[in-house]
Symmetry: C2
Subunit: 593 residues, 2 copies
């Protein structure tokens, strides 16, 4: 009933033709990675996702995780699945072989992550957070910290968490109160309460490594006084095995709208003598380090968004081909037809499909830029790639998550009454998707990041670079291609002009009232997302046409040309509304009370 | 925590100034109804809604209704609430005094219905369906049927249901298979399975009157062979008291995404010797009678939509004023501020508020047209009002329900992580709202109704009448008002032009391919909704300006002018996207497979 078909063909196309896989494989340190190896990895991951993780998704939702007598237990079958997942090496995909990892590029990691998220989003959060925690330790840890923590995190024997939020400090981390007091032995004793800790406690692994934001007693107030600490659930002994239980207690698990199998914990540090923690990097630079995790996690949420959207799309498509209701409009045929044949059901399905493709392409494109930033030998290429990563990350997170909510809702709509019944599984996708616009920074926070750090901070220089990149791609495509694709080219160009105008409007408006760009920020982010998605669909259709001319796999490529037309016909027209809301609406919010 | 504040002031404004309350009160048979009486009723209903129903909403969601050993039990406190509700006379508001009702206009019924829906949507479904069932019996029942069934339905002693759907017959009722065989005694024996029966079984009342669509053995195939039957759960004895249990069995209750307290039953008729039913009206005219219920029920779902949206809005607004995070952008003040001060939170709140006002106004405007249709002495006025009802009903249902889903989702977004936690209540509003685009005909079905029965059937004559009505209202307002309101006037006029062009496009396109109008139907419905909402907000602000000039209650009216500007700034710009999708997208769906 809830089969998941890994979209390997589309992922492979995007990797190869839109996201520079060959360029990434040519980077120093990735010389051993070949496209063939990547194809094998994708195939294996797809098999694990569809055969092991997907069947556990619904049971996880129904059972949930539970805290009983201080012990958190995950749903039936999850322990086995996690053991197999880590034994297969999936937890260490991106890490260096010296820590037991497989040293693959981030691009491949992002491609694979989609498969975990789509098959079982609640499950995938655990390895995703472990990976981000390991990344921070890898970049900022001392040699000893790396020695103790990295190997078990990379192997999946231990898992990791991010501890940011406190009851009074959510979007605004400057309010963090958790205390960390240095001891004569050189470590720290932490005390305070953290909430919304994903996989903050569970029974999947023998130890949990919490990365915790806290304040030292002499720290300056605000975000500049926050430091980052490693706080293990069990303190490793001299052999690196989990030893004495640390002073961190699981107070409760949240009852959530979605991702119910994923235990979201309230953790209390230092109820007794203080939880033992180790400073990561330097004091007072915690937020900066946390942003390493955060940017990875933001991109990861963008992946979740199109992954869950694709799962909903697949289910809706299947249902639409099975469910027979009504007659074909205007046909003399008196046979009832599958609802797929009704134009309005078709509309929903094509809107879902073309946006999923656009989101996937934009995300993988951003991932390859991350690899270039990390490893490209050329300074200019690294700098250019950094601009792409900086500008596109909040868009991949913010826009994709907003769209994913719409798509999951359309999934229910295609199924009608059956979509509202929990047993069909669609309701779970809808509920699970709902978190994506919230965690790792709400859409409003992504939009503020885009406007504050990526636009205003350099008076539009970074943004303008990406606009020019898109403009050149459109011009290249215009010069090369048949009129067949022009709707996507024209639509993207129209959207780009609106983006250009909005950018100027935001920069101007800031001089009038510094609040104005933030009144426009959500609409600006959404406008960016739609245009950036159009850009990728334009690139895709342009390349697809070339393959069709060369008579390659024409059914896949013809369909790609079609989905780009859907994007032009149904999605790009929304840019006008966002643009108008920016230039005509934003000012109204200055007086709203 | 989950207080509900009945929006009496806005409802009273809409009734008086936009929805012709005085005209309705002047209709034959309504001479005793005064605006003062209506005000008292609203106040009393608001009190009951906020004090009795609202506190049961969350417990209803958590407990749900359950089927145990053949008995359906509703959540704690619901029996008492229902008893009080019916004893207070709320079930009989719209019915003639000869049946124990209070004979109020539909306009007042719609105003009051919002309060039940907002305070406790799952509860309110029971009296709403009872009311629609009673209405059909009132219009089509024999004298004896009225005698037996009407008084207990009007008093709420018994409740009513609609039995349409079967596993193979949902949106397409032509597939109905339930059989009704005439007996020598002149009644019918029914057998078959019905699904998705709201309040199909429960413990709130001593009897349940099912209105069941079924087929007689000699009936023609398709929808023309469907008849409507009264099938009581307990067969009334000669004194009209519930007697022998009828042959209808509750097979199961659904596990649903939302409205969990409302028992949605699978009912099996005739497992033993056949369920005894009585023909309502004539054979083979069942669908026609069911549409009496359906049109009322569709309007009722439109009411649910803005009601639940308003509940979500109130909760979000409260939270935004309590929750302190971050600093005011550009301010030198180092005090943290409530999130209400952040422009992007403000954007969400004003979008929510202005659309709720627009939906409410459109719904009540439509309700007064229903009263004119029923009672106006002038033929032309009745005919004009019928056009308004016919055109606006699918818009009130389809557009409002789509918007309500967005608003409930924004409600979660305003609350961030707290919105995703079930205990805060916002998640329930989000889940409850999700049914509104589905039952009583999905949005696709509403859109098809608009296009098939209200547009193509008379080549646009009805639609054109409503467009002209809106145009005249805009011109009147333009002639009267200060430039202050021009943004809503201009935006509505621009939208109206797009609507005019789309209407022409749909009519033309039908000649090319009869599927084309149905490919455009959803976007056409949404375009209609936004413009019709703008029309009402324009009327509202125009009147508000007049009151401001006359120095009446300026804070309410100034705010109304503001919300009309929000509607112009943030909502009306979306028309461009819908228009473009109609004229540039629809054709793409002809080849979609």
């Amino acid at each position: 009933m809830q089969n998941y078909r890994p979209p390997i063909e589309d992922i492979a196309f995007v990797l190869t033709d839109l996201a520079h896989l060959s360029g990434v494989c040519a980077l120093p340190g990735h010389e051993d990675i070949t496209p063939e190896l990547v194809a094998t990895i994708l195939e294996q991951a797809g098999k694990f996702a569809s055969e092991v993780l997907a069947p556990l998704n619904h049971v996880g939702d129904v059972e949930g995780s539970h805290l009983v007598d201080g012990i958190v237990s995950t749903p039936t079958g999850w322990q086995n699945a996690y053991r197999e997942f880590s034994q297969n090496g999936w937890t260490g995909l991106l890490f260096d072989s010296q820590y037991g990892g497989q040293g693959l590029p981030r691009l491949v990691g992002v491609a694979v992550q989609e498969l975990w998220d789509a098959s079982n989003m609640a499950f995938s959060l655990c390895p995703m957070l472990t990976q981000t925690a390991a990344e921070v330790i890898c970049l900022q840890g001392t040699a000893e910290q790396k020695k103790i923590y990295l190997e078990p995190l990379v192997s999946g024997k231990w898992t990791g968490t991010m501890n940011l939020t406190e009851p009074q400090a959510g979007s605004d981390l400057s309010g963090i109160r958790t205390q960390a007091v240095r001891t004569p032995e050189g470590h720290y004793k932490l005390s305070g309460q953290k909430i919304f800790i994903t996989y903050g406690d569970h029974d999947l692994a023998e130890n949990i490594v919490h990365l915790v934001l806290a304040r030292t007693p002499d720290a300056p107030s605000g975000v500049k006084g926050i430091s980052l600490f490693i706080v293990p659930k069990f303190i490793p002994d001299s052999d690196g095995n989990p030893g004495k239980r640390n002073d961190v207690r699981t107070v409760s698990l949240e009852h959530k709208l979605g991702i119910r199998a994923s235990p979201t914990a309230v953790l209390s540090y230092g109820d007794e003598s203080g939880a033992i923690g180790h400073l990561l990097g330097e004091e007072h630079r915690g937020l900066e380090y946390m942003f390493i995790m955060m940017n990875m996690a933001r991109h990861a949420v963008g992946i979740e968004a199109y992954a869950i959207a694709d799962r909903a799309y697949q289910r809706a498509l299947d249902y639409s081909m099975e469910r027979v209701q009504g007659y074909s409009v205007g046909s003399k045929n008196t046979q009832k037809v599958p609802i797929r044949n009704h134009p309005d059901v078709s509309r929903m399905l094509v809107e879902m499909e073309c946006q999923i493709q656009a989101m996937r392409a934009l995300s993988l494109y951003t991932a390859s830029a991350q690899d270039f930033v990390s490893r490209h030998p050329d300074d200019a290429k690294r700098a250019d790639s950094q601009v792409i990563v900086d500008v596109l990350t909040p868009i991949v997170k913010g826009w994709s998550s907003e769209v994913a909510n719409d798509i999951a809702s359309q999934g229910i709509q295609v199924m009608g009454g059956m979509g509202f019944i929990e047993e069909t599984g669609m309701a779970q996708y809808f509920r699970d998707a709902r978190i994506t616009t919230i965690y790792e920074g709400t859409t409003g926070i992504q939009a503020a990041d885009l406007v504050r750090r990526k636009l205003i901070s350099d008076r539009g220089a970074m943004i303008q670079k990406v606009i020019e990149l898109i403009r050149r791609d459109i011009e290249d495509s215009n010069a090369k291609n048949a009129p067949e694709v022009l709707s996507i080219n024209m639509g993207t160009m129209n959207g780009l002009e609106l983006l250009q105008d909005s950018t100027a409007w935001l920069l101007d408006s800031e001089r009038k009232d510094p609040r104005l760009p933030f009144a426009a920020s959500f609409n600006y982010l959404m406008l960016w997302g739609i245009v950036a998605g159009g850009w990728q669909m334009m690139r895709a259709s342009s390349i697809a046409l070339k393959y069709i001319e060369e008579k390659h796999n024409t059914s896949f490529y013809s369909h790609k040309v079609l989905t780009s037309k859907y994007y032009a016909g149904f999605i790009l027209p929304k840019t006008a509304g966002y643009y108008s809301a920016i230039v005509n609406g934003s000012e109204l919010l200055m007086d709203a009370k």
